[in-house]
């Protein structure tokens, strides 16, 4: 497997969606190619960081305001 092919298959490799043969080829390439190993490790880290820290929420005060507005609208429809 070449570096270009590894790059092409990188997401499938990370997501365990490559077939056995391609997975073995990717592993063999990664064992000898420092740059591709760095790209793999830092891509995995990128995904990890956003999965761990990307879960922002509406602030509590604004969330309550939004809840109240929407609830009024929702329940208002019941009396129409």
């Amino acid at each position: 497997m070449t570096c270009e092919e590894l790059l092409q298959y990188l997401s499938d490799y990370i997501d365990n969606e490559l077939d056995e043969d391609l997975t073995a080829e990717a592993r063999a390439h990664l064992a000898t190619c420092h740059n591709c190993k760095v790209v793999l490790d830092t891509t995995r880290k990128t995904i990890f960081l956003y999965r761990e820290r990307g879960k922002r929420a509406i602030s509590a005060e604004r969330r309550q305001e939004l809840f109240d507005k929407l609830q009024t609208s929702f329940l208002g429809k019941a009396s129409e």
């Binding site: 790059l7 092409q8 990188l10 997401s11 990370i14 420092h34 740059n35 760095v38 790209v39 490790d41 830092t42 891509t43 995995r44 880290k45 990128t46 995904i47 960081l49 956003y50 999965r51 820290r53 990307g54 879960k55 922002r56 929420a57 509406i58 604004r62 969330r63 939004l66 809840f67 507005k69 929407l70 609830q71 609208s73 929702f74 329940l75 429809k77 019941a78």
Partner: protein, 192 residues
């Protein structure tokens, strides 16, 4: 995920508990997608509000051909892109078969961030990197990686094929990695 049929039935009866369940389930998820696209808290809240209001209008006619969550995400995505288009044209994406962005940085920072950066610095880098992505890649990345949705559902929300969704995710990951590599490399150098 809850049973959509039961929740929808209760919503059609205007059950306050069903409304609370709907809001608890989806408000923050929808907000993250809207905020990720619009980069403005007020606008993101407006879009979330509009999406729920649209659902209330359509409750009686909602046929359930798509899951409730998929439908809400799609409305938020479309409303957000409409707002962005009103300000400027959206960035064109390369075709599915076009060459991938080649890695430029080969600095191994995979062990660095948590050790060398404060929480605020790390949050700022992550925020700046994702803001630099074209909106359509950003939407796919948020739905897949932050919200944890499978590619098939992301494709339904974005109204594209599953293969196109996977290509968008792959490009988004590579571009974000590159952005973060440069940011972390600069941060490390500036501390030495």
């Amino acid at each position: 995920m809850p049973d959509d049929a039961n929740l929808l039935a209760a919503l059609r009866e205007r059950s306050p508990e069903a409304f609370r369940e709907l809001f608890e389930l989806y408000s923050d998820r929808l907000y993250r997608l809207a905020l990720g696209l619009l980069r403005d808290e007020n606008e993101a809240e407006d879009v979330v509000q509009d999406a729920f209001l649209r659902l209330f209008e359509k409750l009686d006619g909602f046929e359930g051909r798509s899951r409730l969550g998929t439908w809400l995400y799609r409305i938020v995505h479309n409303l957000s892109l409409d707002r962005l288009r009103a300000k400027r044209p959206l960035a064109d994406l390369p075709d599915e078969d076009d060459a991938l962005p080649l890695p430029v940085s080969f600095v191994d920072w995979s062990q660095i961030p948590e050790k060398q950066l404060t929480e605020a610095e790390l949050a700022r880098y992550l925020d700046q990197a994702i803001a630099a992505l074209p909106e359509k890649l950003r939407a796919m990345f948020i739905l897949s990686e932050v919200e944890g949705l499978p590619a098939k559902e992301c494709a339904q929300i974005l109204e594209i094929s599953v293969s196109a969704a996977k290509v968008r995710l792959h490009r988004a990951r590579l571009l974000l990695r590159e952005q973060l590599s440069q940011a972390f490399a600069e941060s490390t150098i500036s501390r030495e």
